[in-house]
């Protein structure tokens, strides 16, 4: 078919323009602004004086920032790798089922993912609450002393980690299942004829062929968990928010509770750089590890 290239380019530009305009307006421009504000002492609304890198220089010695950074790292450690492993195990189990039963079980595992975080919080409050939580009754039955889980420094992060894995695993399971389905059945049949045990088949066939999906799931998890906020915020209500501080919470606190837009922006930029560096680095590392196989 003959086409007029100039006309095509023109139509393409018109079609792309609405997206581009919105993208520039609500993403690129605010991001640039954020970088700018982080070098000022601006409040939440309005402009401030240029203070150079002062907002960044005070971060290392800011105890609350250090708590937030440490808690975020701890949370990532608690959720990313365990979450990936749990999702993989569940996906392997679900993939062995057939037909409607598979769809039904998958739906059950996916259900938590569609819940809003407030509902997740309520559900788990009924489980974990010191006074009326179901888990406390189980503790009573077993003769274990009740633990104020969401009020305890030791148990807060692990508990929120478990809740987060329960909440978000559905999506990872779906990705893993798609990956498992893309491995042709014939390859497993060939392996069966090649005397491959179940464990050998997993280690030498499923695992390497699933590696790209594993890398993807791990990266998505990493980015999502570095940005942890909602669950920590909700579970901290009436508890110890300053001890449970995570980076996004700290940004929120500085900006919206202490009216320090400049300092909040500096933390946000730091987190932004951290997410980019960590995720790009680990994605490349995992890809290379896969390539060597």
């Amino acid at each position: 078919m003959l086409t007029n290239r100039r006309k095509d380019a023109w139509i393409a530009a018109v079609l792309v323009a609405p997206f581009l305009a919105i993208y520039l307006l609500v993403f690129v421009w605010p991001t640039i602004q954020m970088f700018g504000i982080s070098f000022t002492d601006a409040p939440l609304i309005g402009t401030g004086e240029w203070v150079g890198t002062a907002n960044y220089e005070r971060l290392p010695s800011d105890p609350r920032f250090r708590t937030a950074a440490w808690n975020t790292a701890y949370f990532v450690l608690l959720t990313v790798l365990p979450g990936t492993i749990v999702a993989l195990l569940i996906a392997l189990g679900v993939s062995r089922l057939k037909g409607r039963l598979q769809s039904a079980i998958l739906a059950l595992f996916f259900l938590p993912y569609i819940l809003p975080v407030s509902v997740v919080y309520l559900l788990w409050d009924w489980v974990l609450n010191f006074q009326f939580g179901i888990l406390m009754h189980v503790f009573d039955l077993l003769g274990i002393e009740r633990v104020p889980i969401t009020k305890s420094r030791t148990w807060f992060m692990p508990a929120v980690g478990i809740v987060t894995i329960w909440w978000t695993a559905g999506f990872s399971i779906l990705l893993f299942l798609a990956g498992l389905r893309s491995i042709p059945a014939e390859i497993y049949e060939a392996a069966a004829l090649d005397n491959s045990s179940r464990w050998t088949t997993f280690r030498r066939i499923t695992w390497p062929l699933l590696w790209p999906v594993t890398t993807l799931v791990f990266t998505i998890q990493l980015i999502a968990q570095l940005k942890i906020f909602d669950q920590v915020y909700l579970f901290s209500v009436g508890g110890r928010p300053n001890d449970n501080m995570v980076l996004v919470y700290y940004v929120f606190q500085r900006a919206f509770q202490q009216d320090q837009g400049g300092r909040a922006a500096a933390v946000a930029v730091t987190l932004f750089v951290l997410v980019v560096v960590v995720s790009v680095l680990q994605f490349q590392l995992l890809r290379l590890a896969g390539g060597r196989r």
């Binding site: 049949e189 060939a190 392996a191 069966a192 004829l193 005397n195 491959s196 045990s197």
Partner: protein, 355 residues
């Protein structure tokens, strides 16, 4: 050397019969081809032998050992899949070594077997490559190599040539025949291509509708098809079928065509009509006079011979043959002569009736 015996095996998928009460003996070192249209159960039968499908009832004996309860790996068979089923993340050498490693063979044995297979299939230079870096024909070789290194009791091939282009298919077919001669192993080969079956097989097993229609050497099934189905399925172009009525007794028995012309039969058949006379195109020659008259509709010149598609007086379409330098043109009236030594007669149930 391994014989394989199936005794009254059956297989159902849900409420659908796929294989029904089938028995078959495959001799040691034999090259047997399962031939049939799609849905005839030939691939299922192969997969039942391999252990990839369970056998609902009946017995499978491989090399004297009852095997229907054994896992695929324990049957010591090798299979070449239609899509090759190579492990995409392993090199050619690793693909071939995988099964041997699982058997716990010492690594020098594995290395020498892989090298030997690579030499035999002329793919030494490909050993470090991954399947994605190979052409279709090369992948096919790797799949065969992966089967050879296992030194299996028997080779199973599931339509292995169907993904190759025409030229490569012919070459690989010849190589498979050579491979069988060199190894002397039992081979079972599934195809829907009757040319592959005719050229490769020691014996052809023709499957239709969940059961065996006929078992025989290529020439047996070609020359003496047991049923109308086999007669129509084997041979290209296909056999002509002409509705006839029978007249006369003993030496004077004859078939009367729709237009009234008469073809003498070697003997009087037993059984029930309506009857169909079967004759292959090469036995139905164009002649000036002939036993019956027809009108040529299409003329195909193949060089060494000419195929003349013709309509008989009663409207039946037939394919007849003429010399390479035939003068016949579409629309011409022609005469057709039946080679009475190559006639087949089929009864109402489609069974071949002995003449």
């Amino acid at each position: 050397m391994t014989g394989i015996a199936l005794e009254r095996v059956s297989k159902r998928f849900g409420s659908v019969d796929v294989i029904k009460d089938l028995s078959l003996d495959i001799g040691a070192g034999e090259f047997v081809v399962f031939l049939g249209p799609s849905g005839s159960g030939k691939t299922t039968l192969l997969r039942m032998i391999a252990g990839l499908e369970t056998i609902d009832s009946g017995a499978l004996t491989i090399d004297g050992v009852r095997s229907e309860g054994l896992a695929p790996g324990q049957r010591n068979l090798a299979m070449v899949f239609q899509n090759y089923a190579l492990y995409p993340h392993m090199t050619v050498a690793e693909n071939m070594a995988f099964g041997l490693r699982n058997l716990g063979l010492p690594s020098n044995t594995i290395t020498s077997r892989v090298a030997e297979a690579a030499r035999m299939l002329e793919m030494e230079k490909l050993l470090a490559r991954r399947p994605a870096e190979l052409s279709g024909g090369q992948r096919q070789r790797v799949a065969i190599g992966r089967a050879i290194v296992k030194e299996p009791k028997a080779f199973l091939f599931d339509e292995p040539l169907s993904n190759l282009d025409a030229g490569l298919r012919v070459r690989t077919r010849v190589e498979l025949a050579e491979l069988h001669q060199r190894l002397g192993s039992t081979m079972i080969y599934v195809t829907h291509d009757q040319t592959e079956a005719m050229t490769l097989a020691d014996r052809i097993v023709i499957l239709n509708n969940c059961r065996i229609e006929q078992v025989g050497t290529p020439m047996e099934v070609y020359a003496n098809p047991a049923s109308r189905f086999v007669a129509g399925f084997i041979g290209s172009p296909a056999m002509n079928f002409i509705p006839v009525t029978l007249t006369g007794q003993g030496d004077r028995a004859a078939a009367r065509l729709g237009d009234g012309s008469v073809v003498p039969l070697p003997g009087a058949p037993q059984g029930e009509g309506p009857w169909e006379l079967g004759i292959r195109p090469e036995a139905l020659q164009v002649a000036a006079e002939g036993m019956t008259k027809a009108t040529a509709t299409v003329v195909e010149r193949l060089g060494d011979r000419t195929l003349v598609y013709a309509r008989l007086g009663d409207g039946t379409q037939v394919i007849s043959q003429d010399a390479g330098k035939s003068q016949v043109r579409a629309g011409d009236g022609i005469g057709l002569t039946f080679d009475t030594s190559a006639l087949h007669l089929f009864d109402a149930a489609g069974r071949a009736v002995l003449l």
